[in-house]
Structures are given as C-alpha cells and as structure tokens.
C-alpha cells in the first residue's frame, strides 16, 4: 500500500490513476478492510488458488466503506457442456462395475482433450462435463475430439457450446451464459456439437463449417436461439 498525507497528496502523485478512487481510503478504513478473514489466509500455501473464493469477503468490506471493486468476477468465456446419451440405460445394461469402468475411461479422455485444447474443467456432472475455453474454436475442436474418443469407447455424447459473460462464483461459474450452454447441449443431436449463433460468428475464419438447425426455444432462456452443428 502507498501512503500519502491526505487525499490531496495522492491526487497530485504522478502515478495516481484517476479512475481509481475506489482504492483510496483513510488508513483506518483500510485497517478494517484488511481485517476480514480473506487476509487471514494469505500465508496459507494454497492462498492463490483459493483467493477467488475469498473475494466476496473483501468485496463486502469495501462496500461497507462505500467502495467497490470492479467486476473481475464477470468474464467472457466459451462454455462447453458434454453429456453421455442414454447414460441410465447404458448403466443398467452394463451393470455397476462395468459402467463405472467405462465412466472412468470417458472421464479420462474428456479431461485429456479439454487440457489438450487449452480448456479448463469446471466440474464433472456424473455423466458429463462443464469446461471453459478462451477460444470458441478450441472449444469446438475439443468437443469434437471428445466425441471421437468417447465413440471409440462405445459412448455417444451430446455437446453444446456458447460464448458469453459468466459470473465467477468461487471455483464455479454462474450466469445465463452457463444456462444457455447447458440447454444447447441438451438440444444437441446425438453425436453432434451444437453451438449458438455468437459462437458461429466468433469463429469466422477458423475453417470450421456449420449446418444450420434453425431456431430453438431453450428452456428457461428468453427468446429463440439459432443453433448450428459444427461440421468437423
């Protein structure tokens, strides 16, 4: 922290960033903000990994002082959902042991492909995955690779992809963009990668072609959505 005699002095400082008033406070107020439990964890070995989860604590302390941090918890991402088709029926047909083995193999290939294409696994959901990518092209290629690898195991998948702003909620993501991606996966035909119109537009020039499937009503999502399947 940089200390100044008064607010007048901080505003005269050549390195003062004019838009940063939220980061100027009386020292006593900073002392209170720094007393929140988030800062108790700073010496923990896993502090950096866990710090996003502590952010709300810090935000509330700043709000109590009339300050706010920008919204770094709202980020533009490409969200991919995959889902095993007819998983319940397959599990019943195979039996618990064989199904568990198959599911582990599916999980391995899915996580490997997500990593290969630079994505991040947000969470597994029993018979599917949620992952994010900074590039929609890589998300599409990852989804297609996962489907091919799963097909080799005898597993069919649906995959849905949407790009939009997501709210970072600790280790998880939330927001309408996540719901849309999930609904797109549910709408996808077996063995296809469905994407929304924003994804199709975003990957223009990538060499990926699409087949237009028309407009869909996505459950719980306002409006109608033009969906396309990636032809790769």
């Amino acid at each position: 922290m940089n200390l100044f005699r008064s607010e007048e002095h901080v505003r005269r400082w050549p390195l003062y960033f004019q838009a940063a008033d939220d980061y100027v406070m009386p020292v006593a107020d900073w002392a209170e903000v720094f007393s929140v439990s988030m800062f108790r964890h700073r010496l923990d070995n896993d502090y950096l990994a866990r710090s996003p989860g502590y952010l709300e604590d810090y935000r509330q302390a700043l709000l109590a002082k009339g300050k706010a941090i920008p919204s770094p918890d709202r980020v533009l991402l490409t969200v991919m959902f995959t889902d095993i088709v007819d998983s319940t029926r397959q599990a019943a047909a195979l039996g618990d042991g064989a199904w568990r083995t198959l599911l582990e193999q599916h999980n391995d290939v899915t996580i490997t492909q997500i990593g290969h294409y630079g994505g991040t696994v947000v969470k597994g959901m029993g018979d599917g995955f949620m992952a994010t990518f900074t590039s929609p092209t890589r998300a599409i290629r990852a989804a297609a690779a996962i489907q091919r690898a799963a097909a080799d195991l005898g597993v069919q998948l649906r995959a849905g992809i949407h790009s939009g702003e997501c709210e970072v909620a600790g280790d998880d993501l939330a927001g309408i963009a996540v719901h849309i991606a999930n609904r797109v996966a549910a709408a996808a035909e077996v063995g296809t990668v469905f994407v929304t119109e924003p994804v199709r537009i975003a990957v223009t020039g990538s060499g990926i072609d699409f087949h237009d499937h028309g407009e869909y009503a996505l459950k719980g999502v306002p409006g109608s959505w033009q969906l396309h399947s990636a032809m790769i």
């Binding site: 980061y23 020292v27 002392a31 007393s35 010496l43 990994a49 810090y58 920008p70 947000v122 970072v168």
Partner: protein, 59 residues
C-alpha cells in the same frame, strides 16, 4: 497486521509518496492506536481489479 502479528503492537514508519513527509501508523490487531497525520490515506490499486483471465481458474 491483524493476522500477521496477532495481539502485537505494530508500528509503521513511512513517507508520503507526494511530498516525502513522515507518516506514522501504530496499530494492534485491527485497532488503530495512532495515525500521524490523521488525514493520511492509503492508495492500493487492487490486484483484483485486473481480469482473472490469466489467474488460472478459468483460463
């Protein structure tokens, strides 16, 4: 200080980055014992202001 030195009195001697005048802060836990001058302010561009895009979890 609240968490680094619990229960101990901590004294911070610094200088104003604008004029160079001395600034002194004494505190124990979250309790301020002295701020000289009283109008002293802290300026801390938050690391959280930067996008999390490079921070790991959701790259």
């Amino acid at each position: 200080m609240r968490w680094l030195f619990p229960g101990q009195e901590v004294s911070i001697e610094s200088r104003c980055l604008d004029c160079g005048d001395s600034i002194r802060v004494r505190m124990r836990d979250e309790q301020i014992l002295e701020i000289t001058p009283e109008a002293a302010v802290g300026y801390m561009p938050s690391p959280f202001a930067r996008s999390r895009a490079g921070s790991g979890a959701f790259n």
